[in-house]
Symmetry: C2
């Protein structure tokens, strides 16, 4: 019935699927959260098709869950209430590039690596880089960031406009193509980070950056991760324009060396990057080296070669996958707190204690320039005792962050994994978020069950 | 009655006023829009008082219009429906500075100059600088910017969190103290730019920047403003990290020389600034000088002395006041379109033609690094023929911007002056803004009559 009716809309058997493998692929993200099959997966190729599918879903109160690369870490893409998984893989066109305006318009299924390959000939790039080769649609939906946020900001700062289909099938466009505007409410920022609960994106206008003339990377080794965290604080507080500053602990490096065949020293390390003109880079990296020495760095190694540098960041981006691949049949869990920079070293120190207390074999990595860090490890979700230890640990790390001016999620979003923490963190304003959700999606068809814990009586199902 | 009841809440005759001069001062902003007296002006000193006043207003459906420095340019502070003008002059405390986190918390009545004076001892500053010495509350409400936006962004990017009183008197806090977060909807950005229509701010958390080691300013002269606009395009497209890049035309300089007693050359000029370490500045300004020469600059003058530099930017910030002061009894009007950078020179050229066609004696200035420029002039609002010429001119300049991927307001906001243009520019998404407004302020007591044109039947009055 559902399948047949969607087939009438899409009119292509290849793009409406109830194949079990396909349903299974759309039942979960990358992590430990229990999956659930959608009733059907639809692969739209045009904005018109998205509108038609959403209108159909609205008329029949069928849940719609947007799906990109499936690399979400908090269960965002799980069709908790069944319904339609709307897969944007085929809407992966770069719509138009405006190099002279540092702008690009893309369909939501374009991935960040695909986009940067496309932009290279213009001397431009899109800086936001979560570990996975996520889609721009998914990245916008979770307000993703990554190693470049310290220099270029998160998705929120780099999305200038959106086209989105609302829960009733209305197609709206927000924002625009200018670098600034004070024309009405900032709806673009409202949709960015809304995790598919307010609208389904069909086109995204992104701000681009010029590829710097020169870039240099470096590794700074420390006796322990807390010392490395303190050094990151010093760098930030110096005001130097750092390009990237990433904490990796020996466990992470061990996992990456194993997974990627690299041979990085398995020591507490900061991976650093500095960009600019040749002179700026020479001066900048020397200044950073001095700072590192003052902060007790044991050794400072340059990575001048561009291939080696790419390898370094590829290694960093692979950390999560590498960590989870160590033991077979493990699923990833990752904490994601973020604190003000002056709280960072203490928060890392506290987290290490908690991790040890719960005997969890976690690797510690962090976008420490933003005060954001993750404990990464593999779990067997069927091992209830292990899961309980993980949840206890996560609770304590989040509680610490909330008590120290922090947030429960720096970049992964709420999904289903952080709903109870959001209730604590945003106790005073959550009702505004819920009111906006209820106004824009009164039947709760857009990604239901995410972001907000709802009372059963509130649910339409 | 209203006065008596508010006096019971505030309990201080000095801070509840129906004095005619005070009412008159709160009847309008800086510009040509027809004023209207509030019924009463209240000067709260605490958040609790704000909550109590709003609760009282909510219970009695009395309009509330937040008032800061009164420097708004689009009539935001005019109490169109009477009611309470809520003046934040006395809530002007810097609540706490966290220099190590580059953060400050302020009450909404703090002005930008007051804040920067306070921050200087920490080596920090708040970069957003509209011309007037506006309050941080007002700047957040209109998503203000100014000469530094090209380097540091607008208010949206520099406000990390807010405390706000909703239309029902609920006190909420949004955002936080971390540099990034993906915890729920981006409510801070929703409130920033909402022009007092969604909530009344009581505290604002701002991101600060380090005062650069070295700063240099320069003036580049051109044959005409279009050539200067083209040069600005080149600078932006080169990707160089320009600190400020401001277009001023001979009329502006003439007015400023007269008003400030300066003696700048009355030629089409770009005022420029570059900051960084000493080496960066030397290299950066040399590169910019070369770009300017390639773009046909007639002469390039450095302004190395910090006093002279301050004078230069003070002159630029005084442009609007200077222009309007030329003729007695004139009120300011200012256009405020913003276009993508590749459209800038053409838009300036078109605007000059329109200005001449309507025989308007306008000065042209612009934050051209953002594609944002203003035609400034004085009008006599009682001269209907002159007002008609202004409105025709403004209509044509805005229409051109909207047809060329631009926005009707780069930084001044909608207020009452841009409502009809907002309807055009955001035709597809205006109903979302209205729905949010209706959800959060169902009785329309917060700054009624602003941002949205409402049908009379929709109004509660």
């Amino acid at each position: 019935m559902l399948y047949q009716e969607l087939l009438e809309i899409i009119n292509d058997r290849e793009r409406v699927s109830i194949n079990e493998t396909v349903l299974e692929q759309h039942s979960k993200g990358l992590t430990y959260h229990t999956g659930k099959l959608p009733d059907v997966v639809v692969f739209p190729t045009t904005e018109e098709e998205v509108v038609e599918v959403v209108k159909y879903a609205a008329a029949n109160k069928i849940p719609i869950v947007p799906f990109g690369a499936g690399s979400s870490l908090e269960g965002h893409v799980i069709p908790l209430k069944g319904g339609i998984s709307l897969d944007f893989t085929l809407m992966n066109k770069v719509v138009s590039v405006h190099p002279e305006d540092f702008l690009v318009k893309v369909q939501p299924g374009v991935t960040r690596k695909q986009l940067n390959l496309h932009l290279k000939k213009h001397g431009l790039f899109f800086p936001v880089d979560p570990g996975a080769d996520a889609t721009i649609g998914g990245m916008a939906a979770t307000n993703a960031s990554g190693t470049s946020a310290v220099a270029y900001g998160t998705m929120k700062r780099n999305v200038l406009g959106l086209r989105a289909v609302l829960a009733n099938g209305d197609l709206v466009s927000t924002g625009g193509e200018t670098i600034k505007s004070s024309a009405g409410y900032n709806l673009t920022e409202l949709f960015v980070g809304s995790e598919g609960t307010l609208g389904v994106f069909t086109e995204i206008t992104l701000k681009l950056s010029g590829i710097p003339e020169e870039t240099i990377a470096a590794k700074a080794y420390f006796t322990d991760v807390v010392a490395a965290g303190s050094a990151a604080e010093m760098v930030l507080q110096s005001g130097v324009r750092i390009g990237k500053i990433e904490l990796v602990d020996p466990k992470t490096i061990e996992a990456v060396n194993h997974y990627k065949g690299t041979s990085y020293q398995e020591r507490p390390t900061l991976f650093l990057e500095y960009s600019g003109s040749k002179e700026e880079v020479d001066n900048g990296i020397t200044f950073i080296e001095q700072l590192m020495e003052e902060a007790g760095c044991l050794e400072f190694e340059y990575e001048r070669d561009s291939l080696k540098r790419a390898q370094l960041w590829d290694a960093r981006h692979s950390a999560a996958i590498a960590v989870v691949s160590i033991r077979p049949n493990q699923l990833l869990v990752s904490t994601d707190v973020c604190v003000p920079i002056s709280e960072l070293a203490k928060a890392i120190s506290y987290s290490r204690e908690v991790i040890e207390k719960y005997r969890i074999d976690a690797a510690l990595v962090g976008h420490v320039g933003d005060g954001n860090f993750h404990a990464l490890f593999g779990v067997n979700p069927n091992d209830l005792e292990e899961m309980e230890r993980f949840h206890n640990m996560n609770n304590e790390i989040v509680d610490y962050a909330l008590q120290h001016r922090g947030t429960c999620t720096g970049e992964h979003g709420i999904g289903i994994g952080k709903m109870k923490f959001l209730e604590k963190e945003k106790a005073s304003s959550l009702h505004i978020m819920k009111a906006i959700k209820a106004t824009l999606d009164p039947d709760n068809i857009l990604n239901p069950g995410k972001v907000f814990i709802r009372n059963e009586v509130e649910e339409y199902l």
